[in-house]
Subunit: 129 residues, 4 copies
Amino acid sequence: MPLTISIDLGSPVPAYRQIADRLRETLVTGHLRPGDALPPVRQLATDLGVHFNTVAEAYRTLATEGWLMLRRGSGAVVVERGVPPPAAPEQRDRLALALRDAVLKMRAAGWPAEEIAIELHKALKGTPS
Amino acid sequence: MPLTISIDLGSPVPAYRQIADRLRETLVTGHLRPGDALPPVRQLATDLGVHFNTVAEAYRTLATEGWLMLRRGSGAVVVERGVPPPAAPEQRDRLALALRDAVLKMRAAGWPAEEIAIELHKALKGTPS
Amino acid sequence: MPLTISIDLGSPVPAYRQIADRLRETLVTGHLRPGDALPPVRQLATDLGVHFNTVAEAYRTLATEGWLMLRRGSGAVVVERGVPPPAAPEQRDRLALALRDAVLKMRAAGWPAEEIAIELHKALKGTPS
Amino acid sequence: MPLTISIDLGSPVPAYRQIADRLRETLVTGHLRPGDALPPVRQLATDLGVHFNTVAEAYRTLATEGWLMLRRGSGAVVVERGVPPPAAPEQRDRLALALRDAVLKMRAAGWPAEEIAIELHKALKGTPS
DNA sequence: GTGGTCTAGACCACG
DNA sequence: GTGGTCTAGACCACA
């Protein structure tokens, strides 16, 4: 499967971050494994209908997070990851808050609590470890 | 309790949206009920250390979402809510995606699946209906 | 019929103008005729759930337009009207523009052109001369 | 034609809403079509002699109505519209009421019923579908 | 005293 | 160069 992701222009979430998010998914779930090469920036850019700088920014984000290694000329490669660095407590809180906000917005939009739990388990399913 | 919320000015999430998020919490959880008056924009603004326009923007957001009624001269009042307006499917997807993103970022940061489930239930707890 | 009108707090249109608009209706359509007395400011105010100053402001608006005569102690009375003063062309344009805007917003909201015409005729019906 | 609209700064109707109204016109009548780009907020602002925030507010209004897509770095683009979102009955009433008000104010200002009908048909003409 | 509008302008984030 | 956010503060309209 040649890495099919899709993003939502028109969302308030910037394109480069959506791309990084979608790619991080494939990394977390193990669909992209250490040693695998990511598609060239320009190819993924045309696939998604964005400027290649936007994709490059996403790759840079993931590289900073320690997922990728970028080398001029040889593209982006998934890195062998050890234990994820223990997140700063401030960072932890932010992530938990994002979850909380997502849940409350769904509640506010009328989702039943059960469906939200189902969505959560869909998201958790397939994530190793 | 005079409505104590707090925001993080250093966060990438804009202040006005944080304010709206925190207020939406108190609305979803029923701590603010139909008929209740919100603090004047200028007061909440000084409490939070932001400009009153920033709070006004948050109030306006919640008003267009149907939570509040804003009236010149009177103030901001929580509205009696009927059925939540049927969200466009696009909007629904965005909400579910936000949940998925939050979960996967937590996984990527090394949270055990179980702890994430606990966080979820904390978020769901106390939301009526 | 003891003059039953209703307004929509929560609308962006200020209450006093809604009251004036509703009253002007009854004047244009002839349900209130020269010599008729309007309800006391305080009574109409409590009926509508607004401050009596708000109703007073509406009465004043209609008095300025030449519909009413206000006398302290004797309340508001509908005036014998001659020919309406020829509106300034600027005023004429504003009124026509309001009609145009109303129509376009209905179109934008998906109303069929025919239904809009029906609404128009409902509005015109019963207006004498 | 580079989108020529004009507003009346002396009107009680706020400038940002006038701008939104005028733009909605060009959208409803099909003079601006899906995919078309709107002028940058700052450019339209200087054209109209207002601050760019005022134009931005108008754009945001149309964006939440589903007409536009705003993207940082790109610009404002007219969106492909599906079915107009089913307006809340409350909203429907408000629109019909605005029409009714406009008509009765014209009657009150002395317009003959026939001329009003003519104005209506001018407003309806050119609106497709 | 309440919210609403607007300006002026700085600074940021995105593409 | 695009839109987004925020501040500072004036002035208005409303109740």
